[in-house]
Amino acid sequence: MHDPESRLLGIARSLYDQFRDGIVPHLVLPTRTKKNIEYSTEDDVWVYGDQESVRSVKTIRGARTLLKTVHLIDLLVKEHLRGNRASTLREIYYISENWELAKFAEQAESDRLIEDLEIITGLQREDFHVRPEEDGAAVFGPLRIRERTRRGEREIHCQEDIGEAGYQIPFNVDFVEFLDHDARMVIAVETGGMYARLIENGFDEEFDAILVHLKGQPARSTRRFIKRLNTELGLPVAVFTDGDPWSYRIYASVAYGAIKSAHLSEHLATPDAKFLGVQPTDIVEYNLSTDRLTDRDLHALRSELTDPRFGSDYWQKQIQLQIDLKKKAEQQAFAGKGLDFVTKRYLPERLSELGMA
């Protein structure tokens, strides 16, 4: 029995049995910090390691969390699965209003518990009919897809059938089927400004590129979409972000998986994805306009030096250089060299360095 309902009830049953057998009820979970992620050579992604933490009713916090977990399972089983309903992450937080003692203090708490349930059951939140608020981001490029919507199937060409904003990635990417394409590569872009710049400059046509707008830290659906473009269509992926520590984490979550969702890395991460820029070396080489690193930036960079996902020589060198420079640059800083600079000079140069053009 591998259906979501029986897996969720299995968790409830184990807690029940612990009560009955006089064992202090508890759950065992992998520790979810950067100290406990390791490289899986099997899938080339970062996954949780062997460290486990025990959550038990012995402490007041553990007891409250487990009570909340039980309430959450009850909701998912009775309302979602048996009642065939769905809620967003935010709605679940609000639903707990009536749970008194088990009420979530903030949405981060319910989000985390849902991730915990994913880890224990080995399923994804979509299996529990839980969806994020955030829509996936947008896609623009020579790609024809078929989307199964609630109102029937739609065939869409991601250059010809859409407006300037691009095709919106649905939250469940498994409803999308790739039909055909003329693309040679996928460029994932952090900021809306740069995404629009590339479209305006016709970069997608000139380089046969599918542009994906990441909208900051990318949603799961966006990462899943990129992963599928990479594996199903065999397209190389390059990630183009600002040149600051937060953007490197965006790249890392696309390429290696996020620490928060390392249990899903095999579904979401695109280990082949390359980091295009802005690299700290670009700041020097292209003499970009910069801002000073804040204390928070520096702290984040130092923390990345010890993050196993940034353990490669390339990243250690780049990060160390940035710490020395004490500078960061936005991707739109290229505008200072003229609006065409990024598509005529920077991207072609970087893509040929990466062997993609």
Binding site: A12, Q18, G22, V57, L67, V70, D74, A102
Partner: protein, 613 residues
Amino acid sequence: MDTAEELAKQQRSISVAEFFEKNRQILGFDSAPRAIITCVKEAVDNSLDACEDAGILPDIFVQIKRAGELYRVIVEDNGPGIVPSEIPRVFAKLLYGSRFHVLRQSRGQQGIGISAAVLYSQLTTGRPARITSRTSPEMPARYVEVMINTAKNEPEIIREEDIDWERPRGTRVELEIEGSYVRGRRQSVYSYLKNVAIVNPHARITFVEPDGSTEKFERATERLPKRACEIKPHPSGIELGELTKMLRYTERRKLSSFLKESFSAIGNIAAQEILQISGLDPSMDPRSLDYEQSKRLFEALRRIKIKSPPVDCLSPIGEDLIRSGLAKEFRVDFIATVSRPVSVYSGNPFVVEAGIGFGGELDRNGRVEILRFANRVPLIYQQGACAITHAIEGVSWKSYGLDQPGGGLPVGPAVILVHVASTNIPFTSESKDAVADIPEILAEIDLAMKEIGRKLRRFLALQETLSERREKEEIISKILPRMADKLSDMLGLERPDISRVVARIMGNVLVRRDLNQEDGRLIVRIEIENNTSSQRSFKLHEIIPVEAEDLDPPARRVDMGGCYDYQWKIAIRAGERMVLRYTVKSHLQRMPEAVVEGLEPEIVTGARVLSDA
């Protein structure tokens, strides 16, 4: 075109007043709400210093009034007053003061403060400062309206006369300024005065706000702080540059007397030792030392052990008064204080004192409140730039029982007071908002924080035993029953018995009785589980109205007339379980609860406990 020459033509000397006119932010007048606080601060500092110098218990009256679009700031004290001829220069000439060249602890040092306030008033409103001062009951009070000539940095008297004044002695300053008045916020006149009251418990401060409401900060002691005396620089921690300067400008003509006369804490023996280590001739002229020789002297000063600088040049608040100051203004459950020994940086003695208040009505979720003081003056702005804040942030508060998410200031219901007293407080800027990061000072604050941290930890450990008990109560009385209900409801199973889990969590002795009907007989099974951490010995009683059979292990039977009391003597080690059994022939309607004798009621679950009496 020669740029340098062009520029040189444009250069002309500017007066100090003009300079400050263009740089008012460095004096603390950079924003409208701040300007009012700074004006009050400068006037109150002066009042407190003057009272202390004269040995008078300060009685300070502060009033802020609305005057149309402007505010009128009035500060009045019962201090010694200022002689009439001095009034204009004290209030309307920058860098004029009596304390600048003297090495002892006082609030004001540079002689900028009050004149800067006067200047600000003049710049924003064009009005003169109005000063009333009286030095003794025998003299009339002098009233002066004065402005600063900003080009010359000289006072300009607008009006002056002798007047009647109800105070026998004291000074009153009245300034009209453009500003904006903020109530209640952390950075407000009210909180500034509250902080002044905390570290100056010998002062009485009355504050009247624009809406007429009056707050009185009563004095908590009649004892004046000890008067600070003047001292010479202390040799330890002096810098080479300073030493060279002293060597050059000394009036002594012999190195040995230079050492003895220019420094505190150097006597004959110490001087000899220093000269020996440095290999310098005691009779040489201090001014004739070359760089190499000064450096040797400098090294020698560093190497030898010299007694600490005299404390009497500093005026610490004292642990008792810090405690009463905190207790007076905050409702807390716990206060700890510490007073560090005197220490030295660059030849300047300083002392760090600190206090922490915890619990009570303080905010549980925010960052702790920091009260920073330098020479008894509250520091309100630029908390993030201050050595006090940095030192507090550098402590790992987690080990002392406060959260510190993401580093930085700890979080929790605490207020931390730090007072740095010195003959020369190293501020980061003229506006005297923050103490500079001097390693010696950081280290002393760090030690002070660790000391109060240890005291806090001891207090918290005690509290924890109590709150652990309370939390466990919540777990067993609220959370676990709900969890069991929800689980059984969801799974469609019978509600599980949670008593064993409860006893485990409570670390209790569990007594659990199972009853089973079988062939018209009642089979009783009593499970005893010792979840405490030590061996337990007690008696277990089953008091039933009928005779029991098949007792395993056997029990002593006491006939109680109509009732039988079966008694087992139990000795059970920590973590062990045992089972008692017996059967009863007849069908019983009701079984009374099992009774335990010889254990404290708090550690027993599942049975009634017989008290020793």
